[in-house]
């Protein structure tokens, strides 16, 4: 029983974490077509925000809850800054953006090293996340359930925002046909910036969840960026549905492979699985039928 429930539950939690990281990418990469290799560093910024919040509010029961909105804003503002200073000059030049943001990612990592030191800082779990519940022999930590809840809440908020708010409609209009959106009065530059803010902010929220697993360290973002891109590509661009399914599939598959073989082999196996899948279905899980001319 253990060899089934353990990877299933642990993998679901890993998948939830991937989902938060990938949601932001699904927006900036999937919808706007911007390849932002520095997205992982927004996760890192979120983790450091959790650490700093804990320095200010020493009550860990509260500080982690405060850290979530603060991390959203901090990472969002970093994203906004990146969009305004770098990416806005490179729309429609995806390969240039890719190279430049790899550079930005390295700069941000070195910056974190200089400010906080190369060794990570500890982030203490709040008391109400200590402990676990026995599910068929697996001591399922509360922290993992919290990650799953956080991911689902982020997903619902984002989906509702896109569907029902006027800002969501403007994003969709801009994505579908930028020129037409402009002619009907959508200020597409503002929409771009807000979308980038939202996507980066979500990564910040993910960073808070990551900090509960491993504390902070400057390389934290690099651990997740590859898997996050993998999830978005496998899920199919332009759709949240695909991202959600792909995130949980990758998380759970990795956990099962790790259970059967080793953690190192699991990464290789999952990667290989996704590559094979993309060979068979290059467009990812879900395709979008577009009447766009491009």
């Amino acid at each position: 029983m253990d060899s089934f429930t353990t990877p299933l539950l642990a993998g679901t939690a890993t998948g939830a974490l991937l989902l938060i990281a990938a949601l932001g990418l699904a927006l900036t990469f999937g919808q706007m077509g911007v390849i932002n290799m520095a997205h992982g560093e927004f996760l890192m910024a979120g983790a450091y925000t959790a650490f700093l919040t804990q320095q200010v509010i020493s009550n860990t029961d509260i500080s982690i809850l405060v850290a979530i909105p603060v991390a959203f804003v901090v990472a969002g503002l970093l994203g906004l800054l990146l969009e305004m200073t770098v990416i806005s000059w490179m729309y429609r030049r995806p390969l240039d953006t890719l190279l430049v943001t790899v550079g930005v990612s390295l700069v941000l990592q070195q910056l974190a090293k200089d400010i906080f030191g190369a060794q990570g800082d500890p982030v203490e779990s709040p008391g109400w996340l200590d402990g676990n519940v026995d599910v068929f022999g697996y001591n399922w930590p509360y922290r993992q359930m919290f990650t799953i809840v956080l991911a689902l809440v982020s997903l619902c908020v984002l989906a509702a925002l896109l569907k029902y708010s006027s800002f969501g409609r403007q994003i969709r209009a801009t994505v579908q046909n930028r020129d037409l959106a402009e002619t009907v009065g959508v200020r597409t530059r503002v929409v771009d910036r807000l979308t980038f803010f939202l996507g980066s902010g979500l990564a910040g929220v993910g960073g808070v969840a990551v900090s509960l697993i491993s504390g902070t360290n400057p390389r934290l973002g690099t651990t997740y960026i590859i898997s996050a891109f993998l999830v978005v590509v496998a899920g199919g661009l332009g759709q949240l549905k695909g991202t959600v399914i792909a995130a949980f599939a990758v998380g759970i598959a990795t956990a099962f492979f790790a259970d059967w073989t080793s953690a190192s082999m699991a990464q290789v196996a999952t990667f290989a699985l996704v590559v094979v899948f993309l060979q068979l279905r290059p467009q990812g899980l879900f395709t979008v039928r577009s009447r766009g001319l491009a």
Partner: protein, 420 residues
């Protein structure tokens, strides 16, 4: 609830997706690449005619290893200042040249060549990761230079041009197993990072465990840059071992320790014995690790006059909040051993030093250490410490005096290097 959104530049995005995959793969591969520097066979250019003698300090003061290696640099600086205040080496004042290895083995190789052939230093002190040592080895041998390496490592190496002042496996790993046997441990779980040190250490542990009648109930590795230990810790919970042997390195320890406590493990059920958590790391775990164990050859809590002097001098110089740790002590000791080696040989020449190296001693903070002239390691006492609530270690076990270094484990009949 979930949105269906069309995409404008569909084909371009797909191209971009492919590019991301290609880039991430190539980045990963590039990180694995590593070139060895070729050493020139220049004659020694060390100048011993003046009032000073040049030594090189080569540690990473930038990059991922900086946090650890800076502590080594600090204690080397302290030792040099103390020796100079006391009249220098053979009456010559130490003039130290500092270089940054930048946490990159290729840069270590490049810099040690520069120190030996450009600055003409008489000896180099530094290195931390095994990769950095392996990169420096051919250079220091080609130039017939001297390197003092201050960190415990996986053994199976001995060079005429390197002195190893950290522990080899029979001074840390094997004594730790003896401690576990003394404790009556019957089942052991191995958790390590996926690279050369943990793999080698666990190979030794498994063979010795068979000899001692300890059953290995699990063995898990996680890549160095991966911090999520949840699935592997679940296997520890299931196996219920008497002890966990931890050879995880660096920040991955944090993820391991968090997952361990999250899933309800504790020192009462399955305590951990670690070989890379010291005074510096214990407070950085984000969990109270009181009651867990570590195997080293030095703890700040060691009671000896030499250690009291060392701690006081170090904290006077670098701040009273700074802990002292095993690699720092081994680095401090290495400079004094060099002084004693030179004075025993009455020469700065490498061949003269090697000639008279056997039996050279130093009353180090960890206790008396003695150089073995054959393998260039030093005899050290093994200690097991238990972490107390101040993140210091209470010594709970020690070997009967200093253990002779045996890097190739030739004196251990159960050891079979060729076995899987």
């Amino acid at each position: 609830m979930i949105e269906r959104l069309p995409l404008v530049h569909h084909s371009r995005s797909r191209l971009a997706a492919g590019a991301v995959l290609a880039l991430t793969v190539s980045l990963g591969l590039a990180a694995c690449g590593n070139k060895d520097s070729e050493g020139s066979s220049a004659k020694s250019c060390v100048d011993t005619s003046g009032d000073t003698i040049k030594l090189g300090f080569l540690n990473s003061t930038s990059g991922a290893m900086a946090i650890s290696e800076q502590t080594v640099r600090d204690s080397l600086t302290l030792a040099a200042e103390e020796i100079n205040a006391d009249g220098g080496i053979l009456g010559k004042e130490i003039e130290f040249v500092e270089e940054d290895g930048a946490s990159d083995p290729a840069i270590f190789a490049e810099k040690i060549e520069k120190l030996l052939t450009g600055d003409c230093v008489a000896a180099v002190f530094g290195g931390w990761t095994s990769a950095s040592r392996k990169a420096m080895l051919p250079v220091v041998e080609a130039n017939n230079g001297l390197l003092f390496y201050p960190v415990q490592y996986e053994g199976l190496e001995a060079s005429e041009n390197i002195y190893y002042t950290g522990a080899t496996t029979n001074q840390q790993i094997i004594p730790a197993m003896e401690f576990l046997a003394d404790e009556g441990v019957e089942t052991l779980f191995l958790a390590g990072s996926d690279y050369v040190f943990p793999r080698t250490a666990n190979k030794i542990i498994k063979q010795y465990a068979e000899e001692l009648g300890i059953e290995i109930v699990g063995e898990e590795y996680v890549p160095l840059d991966d911090d999520d230990w949840t699935t592997q810790v679940a296997k520890i919970v299931e196996a219920e071992p008497d002890f966990v042997f931890n050879t995880i390195n660096g920040s991955s320890n944090v993820g391991f320790i968090k997952a361990y406590y999250e899933q309800g493990l504790s020192p009462e059920t399955s305590p951990i014995i670690s070989v890379s958590i010291a005074e510096e790391e214990a407070p950085a775990m984000g969990k109270d690790v009181t009651g867990q164990y570590a195997a080293w050859n030095y703890f700040q809590s060691v009671e000896s006059p030499a250690n009291a002097t060392f701690i006081e001098a170090f904290q006077d110089r670098f701040g009273s909040e700074r802990p002292t740790s095993d690699p720092m002590e081994a680095a401090y000791t290495s400079l004094y051993l060099y002084k004693n080696l030179v004075e025993a040989a009455d020469s700065f020449d490498v061949d003269d030093i090697n000639e008279s190296a056997d039996g050279v001693t130093f009353e180090a903070p960890e206790g008396l250490v003695t150089i073995d002239g054959d393998n260039h390691h030093i005899a050290k006492t093994a200690l097991i410490g238990r972490i107390n609530s101040d993140n210091q270690f209470d010594v709970v076990w020690s070997s009967d005096g200093p253990i002779e270094p045996d890097p190739f484990l030739e004196g251990y009949s159960w050891w079979d290097a060729s076995a899987e």
